[in-house]
């Protein structure tokens, strides 16, 4: 199982702010998760949407493991 958060406008696009899902066997990294969820929720496929794993942003494609906390992040804007 993995917990997946959707931040900002992505929670409207997906219809929820978080999901707990069993990852299919073929989904072992962040980009394959994006492709899998992106079939139903095209907003997740936008290049500006980044993926955090366990509250960290990794350069490139991060591997996923059981129990990870994953978050889809649209462009940030504080201040």
């Amino acid at each position: 199982m993995a917990t997946i958060h959707f931040l900002g406008r992505l929670q409207d696009a997906v219809g929820t702010s978080a999901l707990t899902v069993a990852l299919p066997g073929g989904v072992r990294d962040a980009e394959s998760l994006r492709a899998w969820l992106g079939r139903d929720h095209p907003a997740l496929r936008e290049p500006s949407v980044r993926i955090a794993v366990n509250s960290s942003l990794h350069p490139g494609n991060a591997p996923l493991a059981e129990g990870d906390e994953i978050a889809f992040l649209p462009p940030m804007s504080g201040g």
């Binding site: 649209p74 462009p75 940030m76």
Partner: protein
């Protein structure tokens, strides 16, 4: 020093306490960002700042570390709200202390540019026309690009 705050803060109190903790500085530059009652021609009744606990702190710490590395500062502070805010309330307070004013000015300017584009917050404006998510303005991205 970095603080995430759920409740409104008083920028004057923040500046006083920062100044008291910055002995030897000759220059303190600071910035306060406030919720406006208007945005892009729309009335705004409230602003909501979503954050992502764990990641938001890391992005703020990275911005502070970048500023410390880039400018000759004696100290700096970032205080950032999250949650629901009303027009007139402060969103962010940033200050930098240095021997001379140029480093202090530049550090505050730099930190604000990074906060606008690289701090893990997501903003939703509320108003009579309903809520809308807002992202960094083109001017914010241009400002960010100035620093390389």
């Amino acid at each position: 020093m970095i603080r995430l705050e759920a409740e409104p803060f008083d920028a004057g109190v923040e500046l006083a306490s920062f100044a008291a903790s910055a002995p030897g500085a000759g220059a303190i530059a600071s910035f306060v960002g406030l919720v406006r009652c208007e945005s892009g021609g729309r009335d705004v009744s409230g602003l909501e700042l979503q954050h992502y606990p764990g990641l938001t702190e890391k992005t703020l710490a990275a911005i502070a570390a970048d500023a410390r590395a880039r400018f000759e500062l004696t100290s700096l502070v970032i205080v950032h709200r999250y949650g629901a805010m009303e027009p007139g309330e402060p969103i962010v307070f940033v200050a930098a202390a240095a021997a001379h004013r140029r480093a202090a000015f530049d550090a505050v300017d730099y930190m604000m540019d990074l906060l606008k584009t690289e701090a893990a917050f997501w903003k939703r404006e509320h108003g009579p026309q309903g809520p809308r998510w807002i992202e960094a303005r083109a001017a914010d991205l241009d400002d960010r690009a100035r620093w390389g």
